[in-house]
Symmetry: D4
Subunit: 250 residues, 8 copies
Amino acid sequence: MVSEGYAKKLLADVQAGRLSVDEAAAGLGSLGYEDLGFAKVDHGREARKGFPEVIFGEGKTAEQVARLAEVVLARSDRLLATRVSRAAAAAVTVVAPDAVYHETARVVTVDRRAETRTAGGLVAVASAGTSDAPVAEEAAVTAELMGCEVSRLADVGVAGIHRLLDKLDTLREARVVVAVAGMEGALPSVIGGLVSAPVIAVPTSVGYGASFGGLAALLAMLNSCAPGVAVVNIDNGFGAGYMAAAIASG
Amino acid sequence: MVSEGYAKKLLADVQAGRLSVDEAAAGLGSLGYEDLGFAKVDHGREARKGFPEVIFGEGKTAEQVARLAEVVLARSDRLLATRVSRAAAAAVTVVAPDAVYHETARVVTVDRRAETRTAGGLVAVASAGTSDAPVAEEAAVTAELMGCEVSRLADVGVAGIHRLLDKLDTLREARVVVAVAGMEGALPSVIGGLVSAPVIAVPTSVGYGASFGGLAALLAMLNSCAPGVAVVNIDNGFGAGYMAAAIASG
Amino acid sequence: MVSEGYAKKLLADVQAGRLSVDEAAAGLGSLGYEDLGFAKVDHGREARKGFPEVIFGEGKTAEQVARLAEVVLARSDRLLATRVSRAAAAAVTVVAPDAVYHETARVVTVDRRAETRTAGGLVAVASAGTSDAPVAEEAAVTAELMGCEVSRLADVGVAGIHRLLDKLDTLREARVVVAVAGMEGALPSVIGGLVSAPVIAVPTSVGYGASFGGLAALLAMLNSCAPGVAVVNIDNGFGAGYMAAAIASG
Amino acid sequence: MVSEGYAKKLLADVQAGRLSVDEAAAGLGSLGYEDLGFAKVDHGREARKGFPEVIFGEGKTAEQVARLAEVVLARSDRLLATRVSRAAAAAVTVVAPDAVYHETARVVTVDRRAETRTAGGLVAVASAGTSDAPVAEEAAVTAELMGCEVSRLADVGVAGIHRLLDKLDTLREARVVVAVAGMEGALPSVIGGLVSAPVIAVPTSVGYGASFGGLAALLAMLNSCAPGVAVVNIDNGFGAGYMAAAIASG
Amino acid sequence: MVSEGYAKKLLADVQAGRLSVDEAAAGLGSLGYEDLGFAKVDHGREARKGFPEVIFGEGKTAEQVARLAEVVLARSDRLLATRVSRAAAAAVTVVAPDAVYHETARVVTVDRRAETRTAGGLVAVASAGTSDAPVAEEAAVTAELMGCEVSRLADVGVAGIHRLLDKLDTLREARVVVAVAGMEGALPSVIGGLVSAPVIAVPTSVGYGASFGGLAALLAMLNSCAPGVAVVNIDNGFGAGYMAAAIASG
Amino acid sequence: MVSEGYAKKLLADVQAGRLSVDEAAAGLGSLGYEDLGFAKVDHGREARKGFPEVIFGEGKTAEQVARLAEVVLARSDRLLATRVSRAAAAAVTVVAPDAVYHETARVVTVDRRAETRTAGGLVAVASAGTSDAPVAEEAAVTAELMGCEVSRLADVGVAGIHRLLDKLDTLREARVVVAVAGMEGALPSVIGGLVSAPVIAVPTSVGYGASFGGLAALLAMLNSCAPGVAVVNIDNGFGAGYMAAAIASG
Amino acid sequence: MVSEGYAKKLLADVQAGRLSVDEAAAGLGSLGYEDLGFAKVDHGREARKGFPEVIFGEGKTAEQVARLAEVVLARSDRLLATRVSRAAAAAVTVVAPDAVYHETARVVTVDRRAETRTAGGLVAVASAGTSDAPVAEEAAVTAELMGCEVSRLADVGVAGIHRLLDKLDTLREARVVVAVAGMEGALPSVIGGLVSAPVIAVPTSVGYGASFGGLAALLAMLNSCAPGVAVVNIDNGFGAGYMAAAIASG
Amino acid sequence: MVSEGYAKKLLADVQAGRLSVDEAAAGLGSLGYEDLGFAKVDHGREARKGFPEVIFGEGKTAEQVARLAEVVLARSDRLLATRVSRAAAAAVTVVAPDAVYHETARVVTVDRRAETRTAGGLVAVASAGTSDAPVAEEAAVTAELMGCEVSRLADVGVAGIHRLLDKLDTLREARVVVAVAGMEGALPSVIGGLVSAPVIAVPTSVGYGASFGGLAALLAMLNSCAPGVAVVNIDNGFGAGYMAAAIASG
């Protein structure tokens, strides 16, 4: 699946001894993975993406989560598992006693790097209401494990806009802002109008009636009148934290 | 269609001569209308609602609009026609030379009251962007004809929130605020968090992509996190102005 | 976040001693709030909105609801908490023995004002069917706590329209009408055609099949052919009651 | 495609000479049609349905409409063509000089029956607003051609409910009521609460904003709180008139 | 709420002694109802609609259902309660020992008429699959209580169309057909193409994936290519049975 | 329900003794079924479709599933029952001790054919993630029972595209590919671009937020930019396996 | 982007002289394309998919279509261009005088194969109504160019089911059936119940009101109660024809 | 609208002469704008966001666009106007002879900076098909004006994945990738699985049938199985380019 010209040049180099098999294999982008039966763990992920494969805990048994954690940690010094029940977190602790369970975020992390200094700029995680906390915390923990310094600004929704304006200094200091909101989802637009940093908007399923499980907030954020705003899936705190870290540590 | 007890009491009073036929007819709520063939003009409307029947111009011929205007003005000293083309407005002027055409709002008004002093409190009409002007103006002209003083605040969208905060005095002075916005529809929530007056939110079909013809703004406004906000149909400036006047002049 | 001209004038006045620091701070709209960790209580809310912050009980623990109630009551003589379970209501009673639990409405109220005379005009709360009662009652209790006299008209849906017409006197007496309906949501349109007062329409999630959780009623209400109707979110009795009180007591 | 037992009994009767081929063919429900190349005209339709195949004019050329009319009239003494442009109507007149074009309804009819006395009960066609007239008229003309007496009640929408109540006598006299409405679509529910006759509800695409091309009215009608209401497609006046005639003439 | 002319004529007749109070009250359509606190029972319903108010059991306590049954039976000799749990059915039996619980349909009926001969034509209730049985049975029981003879055709969906064609005789004999189907909802179209009787289509929520709770079947039925088909709400067997009886017994 | 000409020819042949009753019955397509009361088992299905009627277990009692299994096996040597609970599977084992329960797929099969050699080409079942396994397995088991050789490619989603490219040989060998994916549903498009075999795409309800129960994947697959892709219902593994077998064994 | 093991083995073979550069390049799947500036023509398509890249004419200028046709024909002996205007078809004729324009289908084809004998089984293309003809014809022309024999069955919709049953012989003879229908989209289900061949269902945007541009038909087809049905995008005749040919010629 | 403590401290400093009026005004965040009547130009935008207000040309007259361009250029050395017609572009050239019209992107730019060296990392703009070019080009031009080096990768959709894999070097070199796609919208997921840079996904309205104006692609992108992907509105090339530049130049 490479272009004809490139492939032939590379192969000719191997044939002629100008390239070793290993160098050419790397040039072809050959990548490894490990087959567990119920899943194929993508060991090339860390090479390609800068971070090992993340375990999505929902719908998996505690045993499956623990087994996946074990396999990931066999090759990487970091682990991130999201949507993890308390039971699954306990199972992970058996195979990784240094695992930490972040309860609000429902996230398990392991960090075995020699030194875990933060890299890149500040990530600010702003959330509109108290019910948005689990999603915001999932974003914050993710960004921290990926090496970012994170500043949390909770309960700064637009119905009491002075609470937000009061935090302008922190917002303007940030390299990237994650803005988490349910209901009418106006927070990213207001922040996007105040700062020059990129804003990652996260709609949450908080709300009732015509919020339609976060659809109202999602549409509002996609239609933000402020430039510099991009959106991730409803309740996808992990995605926002990952994206923010990719931006901040770039 | 009245309750049995009430009807019998009233009829017994007529039978006994305690009530005249006219008084009893009024007690039964009997109401008149006029049949034009293509429409029945509801002359009881002004009695019930405090304002004559409003002509909705869309999908009607210039002749029909003019004929309806004539019939309404035969019994009322005010006229309001919305969604009126320039041609239909001209046709109205033939039957009502004192008719005024409000071009941005696409509205025709006639006001023949002896004195047209404004009654009730101030109506503030705030709009988010320049494209929201026609809807906002329809609301403003409607409220004015219904006897309200109106203050217009244009282009105060949330992406440059200082433009809005700069008008806080006017907003707080108002008896009712009409907030007009397309795109993410965040303006009513922000205003609703700043003032104690009721806010009538008007989503507009301004936007593109996932705004879905105003649906994004509509959902956002229905999910406003600020209390004291109620919503009218997409682009329904007339409805918002009417509602605002009903509140302000109460 | 104020305009340049206004800010400089105010600051010059302070510099020149024409304004005290307190007066200028008020002019800048500086506002206080209290950080509870899991929430920031907006103490400026009562100043801005005329009513203290309302506690939304859904998704909060009994302890959180009680703690928030305590904080609000420390500064205000009124409390409103909606969507409160029986357990959370009990927890509130511990910190506020004079709290009242309105069971149908699932609302907790405290009213410690010296005199609680009603202000402004009458609020009529009309509901279409018996299943709409909880939403209607939430609206009624909210408006009462905000100082309004409320008249309840239950089970007056349009399939037996004489029950509604029989209450015309009460409807016409009202300063504002709240109309609560599920299914086809026709009640606000019919009432809107009969009275001159503004009508706040509340769609409920009552219905099945193609009611889609209240969507059918919501769309019907937004498309009301009667002017003077505005809509709040599905099942949002609180929002309707709040809006009605803001109108009636204006 | 008949059951094994039935088929064998019938065939044995033919074999034994107890049934002629023609009688058995009828017993098997064999049916004729005519292939025009661009369409197959279903001549069995009149036998099965009591009315010849109806021509749907939209998207067909004037020539195609005229050709289809010719083929239908070769075997039937009635013709109904809907959504017919003025040009196509003219083309039909060439092949059927006695064709009548109903302009508001955009319908062409031919009726060559020896005597066209009305059969069955009265069909009442009620419509909410003046813009609903084309759909209502399509229903009325269809029912008339199918042999029903039709009474038209125009502009009786629920925002001026006395106009409707004033026609109660006619409504209660009807064997079936067709109720045509756009916007919030409340008319069928109100009529359904007043009469015992079945009500055929027709949503129209009249409206704007969140009417979504008639979807709001459609959902409202499907959720009618009054029993005895069934719904046809948006703007489907023909379908409603056909259904009403099938009921009234039964 | 009657027209001015009519009301004055009637009142003048009373004044002049030409009409008694009772006659005039009837002429005004005055109607009674009974207020139970949690519901207003519409005793005028039987007069207007030919059938007493129907009890919708969903969301009501067993006590409420039983109390409503008692009140309805105090004035009527028939009772219909739908969506009734086994517990509520038992409670009804206490106040009405002759009540019958139809388990599949989840319906309770009482019929105390002196003679319950069927009136009008046959109602055929056809259903596509075994899972559609509860909805079909609700329709059948309703039509029976309203005095119709009912013929049930179960499991005749279009994937094995010979099962349907085999019942053509019964279908063609019927005065009205109720066609119940989930999934792709094709049954009413096929039946509508075969018979001249009107067809009441009932979409059911049977299906999965993109059936979206019956929406797929609902849309299919509204778009039926066969004329003479009208649709009721998803799973609304009662509505279809009621409509069918109104047609068959007309 | 056959054409007039065909029916008459056939009947004349019977009359003339050229055809026996049985032959003519077959020519008329007469077909048998068995009525169990709660269902009609379509015994003509195997003749028409090449496979006996499949039992859909969802919403049926264990007894009903077992009874249906018994009836099917009385006439066929194969049985397929989908969406079967463990309890219903046990009930089937009582009437068919050779029944096999496929736990991941929630499918019961019986295969009593003398020789069960695979026919036709290879069916490849590719799935994107571990959560898609139950749907993929339902497809695989179905195809196997219908006589196909099946190759399973699990966890080959597009976020690690080398895992998919690594299986190109198997994919290109297949006569037909079933591609199962939730979330963004991109797998069928990528496979469709790589192979010439037809691809049956199965969206799954795996995902959260704006996946809307599989709608996102469904729409993506319908809009595939690669030709040679067709789609079945969300989570409909059985349908995909059946379709694949119909293609492969053709 | 191949697996590590595979790549290394292949490279070692080249290094050792066991494989030539060309053979190894083929093993790596290296593929060519041609960059036209406004498009990259995928010359590997014919190798991978068995058919050259198809030109989608919508939104392209006549010049662009002709230029693309020229490039495709430089390497392939067949050409298929869909959604081609008459003007663009003329432009293609300039570069390929043997091009054929299929007017109903709006398709241009060129076929320069030495012998164009049909391969594989029969493709039957059945369509419900006359308005479905363009989509059906697009499917038929596509399948023919791909080497299939095609049988067209027009106007066999389910409202006159005898027209369909009359064609059972042809349907049962087919290796694969394409079923094209708008409105309620029932045709594929009925066919799917009658034949054992796989059915490719194509919803069309034919219809009005609640057909929502083909959505009603699409959902119906996805929910087909008959197994052996898969669906392509609305109006995607090309996709259905391509899929059918891939099945029939397999 | 600042917190009480902060405001009082600042005012006390002014009162005490520790801060000048200008310094304190800046501390309060006071901001300027210019009122043009039909719009308020936000001159604080460049200070807050690092880029002057962008002109959205759709729905504005050529004169309005030109006037706005003039006002922006009076205070800034850069100008960006999107969705600009050829006529409006000509009007801008009158007031800014150095304006450049980018035809494919429909964008006007002016760049008067002394030196316009690119800053930050590379922005790669990948698009799936030729029809996506206008949106991709809008993104590219926007990012270039904001100071980024841009690399364009056109026509690299997933149906011919080797064209994309062939560009892996460029993609991996980029600091941020903009991925533009219509139809099934799979491109961002595949790219997101290959690179560690953040990916901004732009759905386009390219497609037909069930693409629903870009909704299918939008949902697919929001549900991407690859982390590091965030989404902007349908067809919002400007938004993606702006976001990319904010990331790349951070």
